[in-house]
Amino acid sequence: MKIAVVGKGGAGKTTTSAVLARSLARQGREVVALDCDTNPNLGISLGVGDLETERLVSLREQLDDGDVEHAADWDEILDRFGTDGPDGVRLGVITRIENPDPG
């Protein structure tokens, strides 16, 4: 199942995404949380902390700048550019989610 979370900035979009992702994971489901916002804060709201969130954002910027070889599939992307958050939620910070290919 894929869930998109949208709304005007400041409406509570990221808090809603984070609580939903962790609640689903607590039910024993495998959850991938994708931060597609231009102002990426989902890591903080998920509880991975601001340092780890910053690290993921900077990895994403390297990927955008083409400094890092692009990964083959989602699993690899999350292994290399994501992190494991509380309750087992896997978090990835990404751009251009509307593009057809990963990476």
């Binding site: 409406a11 597609c36 509880g47 290919d101």
Partner: protein, 133 residues
């Protein structure tokens, strides 16, 4: 990207950019559920209205509206209904704990797991699977 199908049995929760930019560029039928998050203010509800229309137009699955920061249920929901019509709603009470968690740089579920806003948002899980079945 969402359609690349590499996620297997995982549930994907994609926190899109603020506004409707990404949603407008996603291809048709990319997700099974669109959560439109609003607060009961005219400007937020205008964005919400456009998001609902886009999600329906582009067949982005079921649409649920999460109404955050509700202070007065009667007044706030009257405005929401006026702007969003008969959309399926989840009501989340205004709660200082959300701001406190943000300020502390922590997750709401770690900071105040039993606060009213967290409890309302946790219930969203049951709704997601309820009629998705």
């Amino acid at each position: 990207m969402l359609s690349s199908g590499e996620f297997g049995t995982s549930i994907v929760v994609a926190d899109l950019e603020a506004g409707i930019g990404t949603l407008s560029r996603l291809g048709d039928s990319q997700v099974d559920l669109t959560l439109v998050v609003v607060e009961p203010t005219p400007r937020s509800l205008d964005v919400g209205r456009r998001a609902i229309d886009l999600a329906r137009e582009n067949k982005q699955g079921r649409v649920i509206v999460v109404v955050n920061k509700v202070v007065d249920v009667e007044t706030d929901l009257a405005l929401v209904r006026e702007k969003l019509g008969d959309a399926e709603l989840v009501v989340v009470p205004d709660d200082d704990a959300v701001l406190d968690a943000d300020r502390a740089g922590t997750a709401l579920l770690d900071h105040a797991p039993d606060c009213p806003a967290a409890r309302a948002l946790v219930e969203l899980v049951d709704l997601v699977f309820d009629s998705a079945a």
